[in-house]
């Protein structure tokens, strides 16, 4: 596989780095400590075309590619895990399914404002009793006259507190399978924050990515017009799974970025910090730790970039799937992030455990990448499922 | 007047100093340049001429230029020369050069001089060397200069024996020194940054001897394309780094808490009787205003005591402070280049070292 970045990708990477260094990094500590949602950064990213990187300019996007998007999440996460996930959830979980499944009217209504950052997007699948499991879904949508009426709740919804547009998965139909058992069929809907009967609950108090707004969504007779059905009725679960395939590339890129950021901090620290009269970089334990972490991070990077390029092929019209690549990338990148940040804290010693240095924040931020948008166990189910098919 | 030809080098004689005035007051850079120009004129055995442009200037000020070395002052007095405009000043200075043909013209590298110098050089078709830190015409003196400031094996190097102006300046952000010559064209023009050259002792008798020559000015409003709407002095008193006895400068090392770092520097400057300076990193970040900047692109200082707090010592910074009498640096990186240039160094966190330093000095001075 050719990993040579195109001229445009190299240029974008340079721009992301400058932006991250100047605009994102200075806020990262505060975003974490005060659970501050970086809305000013989101507005800046919107202005620069970062909120719709890989969608064509015709629909309001930036005309870039999926790898460039993954690199954006990577570079933001390198300095601030929260900013990385805000970008990822918005793009992969809201703008992408509308772009891939929306009617021309839906695309025209939502994509320009999502891509410009005027509107922020979110995605609601997980419920108190169900994660990546269609049959466990309790939220229901009923046709009432010209409307759909939704009832139920969703939890752990990234961006919820600040999002304007939500993709909501709800049960719309029940059929009997071959053996006569009831099967729930889901559909996807576009719900706006201002729709009647729609409420955003209290934000979660989280271990990491503390500035990202993670809330419950409550729908009590939430009434939306008929034309908010996204994609085919009854195929909402498949839509959600396909959406998560894309989302996992974003989270894998986030994990990769967090790991790289931890290495950046650690390399600088070990050159400065002295023990027994020498910089700790001079000790072979430090050198070997760094070497192994770097090799693992680069390995994860190849998987993440490969998955992004595979999705690009699909975007270009090739009949390819990238579920396995995305799952592999997320599995390995998230484990690498957790492992690397933990080992980096160790190299920092006592200082690493304090909030004077960003490394403990990175360790806390890394953990979530093994959990959301499908836990590592779910990724392994996806990968082995394809192997044993 | 015969056609002016900047390549007819033999026709040019004398050293000129453009004496900048603002609001009628000659700027100190003028005295520094006259003092330097005096040495060059002596070496060449020619006249040193101060050129001052203005409107109804105090004649005492004009005459006083002689006290800093000028044998003669050319004074262009015209209402349109009251305040600096590129067009009027360029025209008058170029007209004078074309008429009187000096071999050397020195201009202060101030925001005005750096506007005027290049415009004149382009019009006169000659070279201009910016921001010089050392000037020589005499080859022996130049060799002696190189002996103390370079690694060049001077005795085994050939030098052309002529009196071309050898203009030495830092290049590439101060990573390199370059001596520039302008052998084929005249006048040889050079700008010099304020604070680089030392002002000679004022010589009362020389001022008396100095001849002030009012020159005719052919200038009309049509010559000036830019209109001055207002001139405003900064309300905030700018820090006088150049004249300071003690400078306490802060660098990137304060980034953990810039406000506290600056407060500490101010307190230390207070007890030492000095002012606060900064490296480019600090002024670029906006933690201190640009007038605090010491270095190649900032100010050149040579105080009695220079304290560098959290400054790594990039050559660009060293270029502005390495001639200080005593340099004390505090840096937590023991490999920081600043220690190479320091008289005394302490490895440590400035946020810990400086409060201790302040306390000790206060105790010593009975201020505690």
């Amino acid at each position: 596989m050719d990993f040579t970045l195109s001229k445009e990708q190299q240029m974008a990477q340079k721009m992301y780095r400058e932006f991250a260094e100047n605009e994102v990094k200075p806020l990262a500590k505060m975003v974490d400590a005060e659970e501050y949602f970086p809305k000013e950064t989101v507005a800046k990213m919107g202005k620069l075309g970062m909120m719709g990187i890989y969608f064509p300019q015709e629909v309001g996007g930036s005309g870039g590619d999926v790898l460039s998007y993954a690199m954006a999440v990577e570079e933001m996460s390198r300095v601030c895990g929260t900013t990385g996930v805000v970008l990822s959830a918005h793009t992969s979980l809201c703008a992408a399914p509308i772009f891939e499944n929306g009617t021309p009217d839906q695309k025209a209504k939502y994509l320009p404002k999502l891509c410009s950052g005027e509107w922020l997007g979110a995605f609601g699948l997980t419920e108190p009793g169900a994660g990546t499991d269609a049959q466990g879904q309790q939220t229901r949508a009923k046709e009432v006259g010209d409307n759909w009426v939704l009832n139920g709740s969703k939890i752990f919804i990234t961006n919820a507190g600040f999002a304007d547009v939500f993709i909501i998965i709800a049960v719309t139909d029940e059929v009997l399978d071959k053996r006569g058992r009831k099967q729930k069929l889901c559909s996807a809907f576009i719900v706006e924050r201002t729709d009647p009967g729609f409420k955003v609950g209290k934000p979660e108090d989280k271990m990491g990515i503390r500035g990202s707004s993670t809330c419950e969504l409550i729908m009590e007779d939430c009434t939306i017009p008929k034309d908010r059905l996204l994609g085919v009725r009854g195929k909402g679960f498949q839509l959600a799974m396909a959406t998560l395939d894309g989302g996992r590339i974003g989270i894998a890129a986030q994990a990769l970025g967090i790991a790289e950021g931890a290495l950046d901090e650690t390399v600088a620290y070990v050159k400065e910090r002295k023990q027994f009269g020498r910089a700790i970089a001079a000790f072979q334990n430090t050198q070997f730790e760094l070497a192994e972490m770097k090799a693992r991070v680069d390995a994860a990077k190849y998987l993440v970039y490969a998955a992004a390029m595979k999705k690009q092929q699909a975007m270009n019209g090739a009949k390819v799937r990238y579920s396995v690549e995305a799952a592999e990338a997320k599995l390995i990148a998230s484990r690498t992030a957790s492992d690397v940040t933990r080992r980096c804290v160790q190299l920092f010693g006592g200082y690493g455990y304090t909030r004077d240095y960003p490394i403990e924040r990175m360790m806390r931020d890394a953990k979530i990448t093994e959990i959301y948008e499908g836990t590592s166990e779910v990724q392994m189910m996806v990968i082995s499922g394809a192997m044993l098919k | 007047m015969a056609e002016y030809n900047s390549m007819d080098t033999a026709a040019f004689k004398g050293v000129w100093v453009f004496c900048e005035q603002r609001e009628g007051l000659p700027q100190t850079i003028s005295y520094q340049l006259l003092s330097e120009g005096r040495k060059l004129a002596n070496d060449l055995g020619v006249e040193l001429v101060g050129v001052i442009l203005g409107s109804e200037l105090n004649e005492d000020y004009v005459k006083a230029l002689g006290g800093y070395g000028a044998d003669r002052v050319l004074y262009a007095d015209h209402p349109l020369l009251k305040d600096y405009t590129t067009d009027a000043y360029t025209k008058v200075l170029c007209d004078l050069v074309q008429e009187k043909k000096p071999e050397i013209v020195l201009i202060g590298a101030t925001n005005l001089g750096r506007d005027l110098g290049p415009r004149c050089a382009a019009r006169l078709h000659t070279g201009l060397t910016a921001d010089c830190t050392h000037l020589d015409v005499d080859v022996e003196k130049y060799k002696n200069f190189l002996k103390t400031t370079s690694t060049i094996d001077v005795d085994n190097t050939k030098f052309e024996e002529n009196t071309n102006l050898k203009m030495t300046r830092p290049a590439f952000g101060g990573h390199l020194m370059a001596t520039i010559i302008c052998p084929r064209f005249r006048p040889q023009m050079s700008t010099v940054r304020p604070g680089v050259m030392q002002t000679q002792e004022y010589d009362e008798a020389a001022a008396e001897r100095c001849v002030v020559e009012k020159v005719p000015v052919a200038l009309s409003a049509e010559d000036i394309d830019v209109e001055i709407v207002e001139i405003k002095k900064s309300a905030k008193k700018l820090v006088d780094l150049i004249g300071a006895d003690v400078v306490v400068a802060v660098g990137r090392g304060i980034s953990a808490d810039p406000e506290k770092g600056i407060a500490l520097a101010e307190e230390l400057a207070g007890v030492l009787g000095g002012v606060v300076g900064a490296s480019r990193a600090v002024t670029d970040a906006g933690w201190l205003s640009v007038d605090h900047q010491v270095g190649q692109t900032g100010k050149t200082v040579h105080p009695r005591i220079y304290v560098a707090l959290g400054i790594s010592g990039a050559i660009q910074h060293l270029a502005g402070m390495q001639d200080s009498e005593t340099i004390i640096s505090v840096n937590k990186n023991e490999a920081a280049p600043i220690f190479e240039a320091s008289t005394y160094g302490i490895v440590g966190d400035l946020f810990k070292v400086v409060p201790e330093l302040i306390k000790e000095i206060k105790t010593l001075k009975g201020m505690a």
């Binding site: - | 603002r22 070279g127 050898k166 520039i180 001139i231 240039a341 490895v347």
Partner: protein, 261 residues
């Protein structure tokens, strides 16, 4: 109406500096950046474009790889680029450089409403000469050290910084302005800009393209046309390292003994 922006690619002297055995800087080993002040000049031009919809042309003199910089400037919003490149132009000092750039700007064409923007100075030379010299060659009025620019019709009101304050000046187009950091905050490249910059026009002006301009003579450009040349270059001396002291107490003691405090 056009805004023409003169830019320069410079070695990043803030980063690591590579030095050749002879003491001169090894540019090939150093990262290059767009000269910082030139980004402020571009931003001033782009602001004018935001207000008036004018065209923004970026022009640089340099070797062929300088195209990469021009593309980045187009990704920030410039409409087209001109790369002035030719062996004949090599070795130019500021005088000769301004001859060539002025000829290039002439070829682009300065209309009655146009503004030429330059950065105040380049970080590799710090001379601040090329801007005013281009203005002189083009017979344009100049304002240097611009910290604020307002345009009404064909009149620009410019705040020009002095060391101890500022001047407010009025100047009519066409004119040349040199810009400083305080003027504005340069915008980033945008993603749509990045993905469309290679489709924007880029012209290369070589010696052939410019030779008919009266400013271009064999004795006004390149090494031969440069009034100044380097006589000697050398590394500044490194002072012997001073004394490292162990404690604040020791330092204060020494300073006191030497009557420094």
């Amino acid at each position: 109406m056009k805004a023409i922006v003169c830019v320069k690619q410079v070695p990043d002297t803030q980063g690591k500096v590579a030095v050749k055995p002879d003491g001169t800087m090894d540019r090939s080993k150093m990262a290059t950046i767009t000269n910082p002040d030139d980004l402020n000049a571009l931003e001033a031009a782009l602001k004018l474009k935001d207000e008036t919809g004018c065209e923004v042309v970026v022009v640089t003199m340099g070797p062929p790889p300088a195209e990469g910089m021009l593309r980045e400037l187009m990704a920030r919003g410039a409409d087209r680029g001109v790369l002035v490149s030719g062996r004949e132009f090599g070795g130019s000092d500021t005088f000769a450089t301004s001859q060539i750039l002025a000829a290039a700007v002439n070829k682009i064409g300065v209309g009655p409403e146009d503004v030429v923007f330059c950065g105040r100075q380049a970080i590799d030379g710090d001379t601040a000469q090329v801007g005013p010299q281009i203005a002189e060659k083009l017979h344009l009025p100049q304002v240097t050290y611009a910290a604020n620019i307002k345009k009404e019709g064909n009149t620009l009101t410019v705040k020009r910084m002095l060391e101890d304050g500022y001047m407010t000046l009025k100047v009519n187009t066409p004119c040349l302005i040199t810009c400083i950091k305080e003027l504005n905050e340069p915008r980033y490249m945008s993603i749509p800009g990045i993905y469309s910059c290679y489709a924007k026009p880029l012209e290369v002006y070589d010696y052939e393209a410019l030779k008919d301009d009266p400013l271009i003579e064999t004795d006004t450009i390149g090494l031969k046309g440069s009034p100044t040349n380097v006589y000697k270059s050398f590394s500044p001396p490194v002072k012997g390292a001073g004394m490292m002291v162990e404690s604040v107490g020791q330092l204060v003691g020494i300073l006191n003994d030497k009557h420094l405090i």
